[in-house]
Amino acid sequence: MVIAPDFDSRPIISFQSVWKRYANGTEALKDVSLAVPEGDFIFLVGPSGAGKSTMVRLLIREEKPTRGRILVDGINLGPLPRRKLPHFRRKVGLVFQDFKLLPRLTVYENVAFALRVLGESRDAIERLVGDALETVGLANKGAKYPRELSGGEQQRVAIARALVPGPRLIVADEPTGNLDPATAWEIMQLFLRINASGSTVVMATHNREIVDLLRRRVVAIEDGRIVRDDRSGTYHEDLATSALRA
């Protein structure tokens, strides 16, 4: 069952006239406004250097906005004190292009790591990790090390780790960037299932085929500005059929 995004309630992500200028003077984002309702699936697309990764970094508060407000689940990220940052990060599941798995730990331990950080009990860890590995189709590979897995399997482990604390928001930065088309498609199916179960997914990607096939919401960024926001969009504007300008 697919849960339709709730456009009427408070958005889980809200960018309000956000500007980001780095110390070297680069203007990475210019007056960006965006609202993402709970349960939405959104692609951030655009050329390299357009500002996609900056948006991701702002979303997980690796960076602070120079101007404007960013609200995630009602939390204003700009003035959020450092001591409250860990509690905020636990609300967001993160998936990266390079997987960021710990090579010394097994698949099970990598996924369990996210729960150990939270101080969960051994019983809870066993149950939740089992469920997460089941979800990503790696229930029988818990004892393997990342080096013994394919790229797609490693990304599944990273997704399981992002899912295991039960976040309502998943942020993925180029999650299929290192994968062949078939594996990338499998990973996308996984993200769709996660989204269908109620989690909001924000994905920065260069993968044109996937964006065009899935016809989900597409936010295109160029030169630090949102140039297109299509509810059922494609990678490039000329392919868009049912555009909803932001």
Binding site: P86, L94, P103, F113, V117, L118, P165
Partner: protein, 298 residues
């Protein structure tokens, strides 16, 4: 329960990291051991020399005032009362001519001399004990102005000796503190570098920890504990070596430099032990805390 689980995680991470990077942690342990040996040895030596100095101080903090023959006993008693009124004076004792002669003759170095003298040429004495070494001079001045004092040799005050001793004592204290400060800074820098190497090896793990919502203390804890472990092992090694070497060193010193009354004091070792272990733990914790501060910032 959650705190207990975090502590267990930190302990097991610290333990694993310590043994996984043995070449680095081992070098750190050895360096800190050497520093703590230097620190411990300087404390032991400082203690031994302060015992020697205390002995000298005890002796020179008593000044003897020679009483001229024919001085009436009432004059002596008046002066004793005057001395007792001085706030620096701890005690005043009169030593008669007879008692002083007996003391003189009991000293083996005076045996030949005693056979040649007739009658009792030694004067009676007033022995004055003062609280602080620096106050002896005041009593000396007072005694020299007293009319009952022996004109040829009124007191046994050794001004230069006392001044030099006070100077030596304060220099030793300053040098001790200076050396301890240098050693402290050196150990902290060594622990910082040891822990930074561990941080470098575990940078990926730290990054993941931060991304999944670990608090700064959760990330820092294992490194601080690793520093504590490094300091504790180094302090134990240093203490063991010092305990083994202390007695033979003092005995060797006593046989070769017999004129310096250095003594072995087992009680001081029991005081030094906990201090050295605490210093190891503290240095390890401080070094690692400072070392990882920049890297664990979320």
């Amino acid at each position: 329960m959650r705190i207990w689980r975090h502590l267990l995680f930190a302990l097991s991470s610290a333990w694993q990291s310590f043994w996984r990077h043995v070449p680095v942690t081992g070098a750190g342990v050895l360096s800190i051991t050497l520093i703590l040996i230097l620190g411990g040895a300087s404390l032991l030596l400082g203690h031994a020399f302060s015992q020697v100095l205390d002995g000298y101080k005890q002796r020179v903090s008593v000044i003897s005032v020679s009483v001229a023959d024919q001085t009436p006993l009432t004059t002596v008693e008046d002066f004793e009362d005057q001395l007792r009124l001085q706030p620096e004076v701890l005690s005043v004792r009169f030593v008669s001519k007879e008692e002083e002669l007996r003391r003189f003759s009991e000293d083996p170095r005076n045996q030949q001399l005693i056979e040649q003298i007739q009658g009792n040429p030694v004067p009676a004495k007033i022995e004055v004990k003062v609280g602080r070494l620096g106050d002896v001079k005041k009593i000396d001045t007072l005694a020299r102005h007293w009319r009952g004092a022996d004109r040829t040799d009124p007191t046994d005050y050794q001004g230069d000796f006392i001044t030099n001793m006070l100077r030596l004592s304060s220099w030793l204290t300053i040098a001790g503190f200076g050396m301890l400060a240098v050693l402290t800074v050196a150990s902290i820098v060594i622990v910082m570098n040891t822990i930074r190497t561990a941080v470098y090896h575990r940078r990926q793990e730290i990054e993941v920890m931060k991304l999944v919502g670990a608090t700064e203390w959760f990330v820092r804890g294992p490194f601080v504990l690793e520093g504590v472990l490094t300091g504790l092992i180094a302090a134990s090694l240093a203490l063991g070596l010092l305990m083994l070497a202390y007695r033979p060193f003092v005995e060797r010193f006593q046989s070769e430099l017999f004129f310096v009354p250095l003594t072995y004091d087992p009680r001081f070792v029991s005081v030094l032990g906990p201090d050295l272990l605490a210093a190891g733990v503290l240095l390890g914790a401080m070094g690692s805390y400072i070392g990882v501060r920049r890297f664990v910032r979320i």
